[in-house]
Amino acid sequence: MSDTSPERAGGATGADPSALAQTIVFSGVSVVRDGRTALDRVSIGFEEARVGIVGLNGSGKSTLLKCIIGLVAPSAGTVAVDGRDALREARAIRRTTGLLFQDPDNQIVMPTVDEDLAFGLKNHGFSKAETAERVAGALVRLGIAPLARRRIHELSGGEKQLVALAGVLAISPRTVLFDEPTAHLDLKNRNRLRDVLHALPEQAIVVSHDLELLADFPRVVMIEAGRIVRDGAAADVLAHYREANR
C-alpha cells in the first residue's frame, strides 16, 4: 500500500510553521500598469508564519502576492524570496511558494479532481509514481479523498476551493499565498477553510476582506492606494482599518 502520509504527500503536518517560513523582501517595489499605480515604492519584509493583508478593492493586495511568485514584474524595485529574485528565479520560487486564487474556477485546469492535482506535479517534474502518491496524500490531508475521480463542474464552490488548495499543497510548498480565499464561500465552507488555514504547517500570507479570518494573526499589513499604511499586530491594524473605512 502506498504511503500517503502528509509528510510525504503535500506537506509536513505537525511541522513548525516558522521553521518552514521563507523570508520575502520587497525593496522599493512599484508596479504601474495601464498608467495606474498598483504598488507605490513598497519596501517590506515577511518572515512570520502568518501574515494578513487588508485593503480596499484595487489597493494593490493581489498585485503584491503576484509579485512574490513573479507573475507581475515590478516597474521598479525587486522582490526576493529567501534571497532568490522573484523574476529571474520564478520557476524555483513557484516550487516552494503556491498561490491560491480567489476563484477556484480560474485555478483548476483539468476536468477531474485527481488529474488537476497531478497537473502541477507534472509541471514540476515529479515521477508518475510520486505524483499518484502526492495526489492521494493531499486529498487525504484536506479530507476530500472521496472527490478524487469527480468532475470539477459537479463540485460545490467550497469543494472546488479545497481542490485548488490541495493542488497547491501537493507540491509541498513552504509558503502558501491566499488571495481572498473565502470570498466565494458560504458560512459553512468559510469556517471549514478557516480551520484548514489555521492548521496549515506552511507559512501563509493571506489577503482577505474577511477580518475574522485574520483576527488572531501575529501580523497584519494594511495597504491603501499601493502603499503600506499600517503594519503591526492584528488587533491594532484591523481596528484602524475598520475605523478608516466606516
Partner: protein, 222 residues
C-alpha cells in the same frame, strides 16, 4: 460528448492504451467514410453500440451523454431525406452515429491526462518544425474540455440576468457580457497556469523527494 468524460472501470477498453484507442477510432472513422451501403453501416452502428456498452456505461447514460449529437444527427438526417433521398439519410445517420458511439467508448475509458499526453506526442513533429509548442497545444485541448461546461453555465446565468431585465432573446445582450467574462477568466487562468509551474520541465529526470530547485532558463524582462 464533453459531458461524458472518463469514468472509472476495468473493461478491456479501460485497460487499452489511449494511443491505440485513438488510432483505432481515427481508422474506423476514416474507413466508414468510404462505405455507403446501409447494411455494413448498420453493422458498424451496432458494433459502436456494443463498444459503448462494453465500457460498463448503461444505455440510458449513453443516450443522455449523446443527446446533443443525436439532435444534430436528426436534423442532418431530415435535411438529407428532404434534399436527397431516404437511403442517403439513413447512411449518413448510421455512419455518424457509429462514429459518435465509438468516440463515446473512447472518451469514457480515457482520462483527460492520457488524452493530453497522446496529443502532446502527436504534436511533437509539428513542434520540431517550429509550427507550435506541443505542450501548449495539448493544454489548449484540455482547457476546452474543462471550460465548456463552465462557459455554458455562465451563459445560462447571463441569460437569466438579462431575462430579469426584459432582454431575453437578445443575442447581443448575451454575447457581449459572456465574451467579457471569458476574456477576464482567460487572463486569470493564464496567471494560474504560470503559478502552477507550466510549461513542464521536460529535461528533468524524475526528481527525488525534494526536487532540486533550478533557476529559470529564461529571464523575463522587467
Amino acid at each position: 460528448m464533453i459531458a461524458a468524460l472518463a469514468r472509472p472501470g476495468s473493461s478491456p477498453l479501460h485497460r487499452t492504451a489511449a494511443a491505440r484507442k485513438l488510432a483505432a477510432l481515427a481508422a474506423i472513422a476514416t474507413l466508414l467514410f468510404f462505405v455507403d451501403a446501409p447494411a455494413p453501416l448498420g453493422f458498424a452502428f451496432a458494433a459502436g453500440l456494443a463498444a459503448a456498452r462494453s465500457t460498463g456505461v448503461r444505455f440510458a447514460e449513453i443516450g443522455s451523454d449523446l443527446k446533443g449529437p443525436a439532435a444534430v444527427l436528426a436534423v442532418l438526417g431530415l435535411a438529407d431525406w428532404w434534399l436527397v433521398d431516404a437511403a442517403t439519410a439513413v447512411s449518413v445517420v448510421l455512419r455518424l452515429g457509429a462514429i459518435a458511439l465509438f468516440a463515446h467508448a473512447v472518451t469514457v475509458t480515457t482520462s483527460t491526462a492520457e488524452l493530453t499526453a497522446v496529443l502532446e506526442r502527436l504534436f511533437v513533429p509539428a513542434e520540431r518544425l517550429g509550427l507550435l509548442d506541443a505542450a501548449r497545444a495539448a493544454l489548449t485541448v484540455t482547457l476546452a474540455i474543462r471550460f465548456v461546461p463552465l462557459i455554458v453555465e455562465e451563459a445560462r446565468e447571463i441569460r437569466q440576468a438579462q431575462a430579469a431585465r426584459g432582454l431575453d432573446g437578445s443575442i447581443t445582450a448575451l454575447a457581449v457580457p459572456l465574451m467579457v467574462r471569458v476574456i477576464v477568466r482567460a487572463e486569470a487562468l493564464a496567471d494560474a497556469i504560470d503559478a502552477r509551474g507550466f510549461p513542464p520541465e521536460r529535461a528533468v529526470v524524475a526528481p527525488s523527494r525534494s526536487p532540486e530547485i533550478r533557476p529559470d532558463r529564461e529571464v523575463p524582462t522587467p
